[in-house]
Assembly symmetry: C2
Homo-oligomer: 396 residues x 2
């Protein structure tokens, strides 16, 4: 049988990047390429205790069908949490549970974009979201990101000139892949432009609570007096990635549409993980746990930065993230980045070529993304040293 | 803000049916309208034991990101199970895990259908699938279902005359909503037609193991020597609906596309539920458990049928399912079905108006769907009696 796939799926071609990632996914490879939370951040003991308690006291709630909107106590708790902790969410907003933030992003695209409609994103941006948009048949327009966030004049230009722009997709805090954070000034400017052009903002904030230095910047959602912002959050980096629980805060009318779309995708998010997330927020030292994770990532990022300074500091430039899981290294222009990534993999260190995160993979890019949450401290120290040696081999 | 939603989501209008269902969802209502497995079929003790063991011995596997294809031991176990129990799955097939069968159905549509492409389905059919197809912008063509399955000559006519048919969607065993099972003869005829017209079959088999009388009929997938069948199965009715674990068996090339599409939706299915499903299949008396569920539903369906015969037998006709969760009652033509459903709800019995399952909700329909898995035995007896009284009030 010769299969005739839909246009949107045919357009989604396997990437050269995947080959490099596959080649570097072995057991003994140092995983600077991943995006996994550090396993030591999982509150395993608490999850074990809560699971027992849930399966003893409310097994039917955990095992029976639930409603698409999600477990009501979790939704209420999250609404309160966002209102008190992030000054986010008005009377016009509602919140529902998704099967990981990825689903929230995909649903936003589904309810707003026809095939061929435009989504403006930071360039580079999170490959998972870009591919999700692509598989919905959306057209992507990348706007370069600067040290303090997206290039505002180019964003304005794109909003003015691109046809059928439906969403501006942003990761304002500790962006994936760059680790950069959008300044308050730029957040205000972005919101003003969205309002001016009548385009929704999709604010993806998976790392929002993982700030390990500096001061919190208000979310764009917290400025949303017109119902222009769809805010997506996640438990993946603070509780467990494998449980697949995220949430969407958005204007009620938008939530209603997204819930209908979600119903057609997976009916509802698995109940046991939802109830676990609820217990984690209410019956556990949530603030203490977040503080513990921040300490771990502060240490790991410092280790990586110190190593980069020592072994590559005179040759490359890189970002200094205030939170999150990633930093972004620019190699010198004369070094072929893909070859460098391949050579690093051959020496046992996996990094992600920056091209993976571009709207056009074929555009020039001399950067690689490094992750400091997944590798152990020893792997960070050893891996950065190897990256330095590989770089030297290219210079000679 | 005035929102401009995508065409496919704008077309998906709230249904009159929902209002009736809402009105009948109260605490004291007898739930003949649900599709929930009986809570007493959940192996709560085993789930508790397995969960403890998983969180003690492999917490990171349960809590960390997994791969999109799913937990490898579960995939292998399911492949074996389908091959030995259902003679299904060839060397050219692959299997991956989805977040409930609903996701498998949605993904099949996503990878094969452009907006406006046609899906042929039984009429009536499962509303969750129909709405999922609608929200992907597919065009639905319903072909009437008869006592032994879809009307073959009308199916052939539709395949010959409808434009851009990409999928034939079927629930061949204990269909939702009718409870009917497609005969072996018709399964062969359907497969031959699919082959002749080069159209994929989407075989949805959530109730396949819930046969409580008669003999198993081979799946259409078991005849699939050309890679024309996407087979979707689920743990929702045999382990737990709330855990949201299903699977798709399909030709490798199709699975690859569906996996890419799934990645953009939820990255992967929650890991703890997947590992639980694996333990349930390997470390538990699976066959004994299935047998227990069959006994429960045999009893409940018999109770409902006996009650219908006693209280409504001279006025209505209904299906005698050999398995599954539902039966389908045709009211006399002179009784306005929606009014009857409303009156039943007012008397405390929720039923689903048959129109909910039609491709065109406005088509004439005098049937209601009754579910016997959710209500208790007492509720079944009392509920059917009430349905009889309500019917009498319409005749007088």
């Amino acid at each position: 049988m010769k299969y005739s796939f839909s246009n949107r799926m045919t357009a989604l071609q396997p990437s050269i990047i995947r080959e490099i990632l596959k080649a570097s996914s072995g057991q003994n490879v140092i995983p600077f390429s991943a995006g996994n939370p550090a396993p030591e951040t999982f509150p395993v003991e608490a999850i074990r205790t809560f699971t027992q308690s849930i399966l003893e006291n409310e097994p039917v709630a955990a095992l029976q069908y639930g409603i698409t909107e999600g477990y009501a106590p979790l939704r209420e708790t999250l609404l309160r949490h966002l209102k008190t902790g992030f000054a986010t969410g008005s009377e016009e907003d509602d919140l529902f549970i998704v099967s990981g933030a990825q689903q929230g992003i995909e649903l936003a695209c589904k309810v707003f974009c026809n095939e061929g409609d435009t989504i403006i994103c930071e360039s580079p941006s999170f490959i998972g979201s870009l591919n999700s948009f692509r598989s919905a048949g959306a057209r992507l327009v990348g706007v370069p990101i600067e040290a303090d966030g997206i290039d505002i004049s180019r964003l304005e230009h794109a909003l003015r000139t691109e046809p059928n722009v439906k969403l501006i997709y942003l990761i304002p805090s500790f962006q994936n892949p760059t680790g950069l954070t959008t300044s308050l000034e730029k957040r205000k400017a972005i919101y003003a432009l969205a309002k001016q052009y009548g385009v929704m903002i999709l604010e993806d904030n998976p790392y929002g609570e993982l700030r390990f230095q500096g001061e919190d910047v208000p979310t764009i959602k917290s400025m949303d007096d017109e119902g222009m912002v769809i805010y997506v959050g996640s438990f993946s980096k603070i509780l467990s990635a494998g449980l697949r629980v995220g949430y969407v805060l958005a204007p009620q009318e938008v939530v209603q549409k997204m819930v209908v779309a979600k119903q057609g995708e997976d009916v509802h998010t698995a109940m046991l993980p939802q109830i676990l997330a609820y217990r984690f927020m209410t019956d556990y030292d949530y603030a203490g746990h977040i503080s513990k994770i921040r300490n771990i990532y502060r240490r790991k990022s410092s280790l990586m930065i110190a190593g980069l300074q020592e072994h590559l500091g005179q040759t490359i430039t890189f970002t200094y993230p205030d939170g999150g899981l990633f930093l972004w290294c620019d190699l010198p222009a004369h070094i072929p980045m893909l070859d460098y990534a391949k050579a690093a993999a051959a020496e046992g260190v996996a990094v992600v070529p920056g091209t993976a995160f571009l709207v056009e993979e074929t555009d020039a890019c001399h950067a690689i993304r490094l992750n400091f949450s997944t590798p152990s401290d020893e792997q960070i120290e050893r891996g950065v040293e190897i990256l330095g040696q590989v770089l030297k081999s290219f210079r000679s």
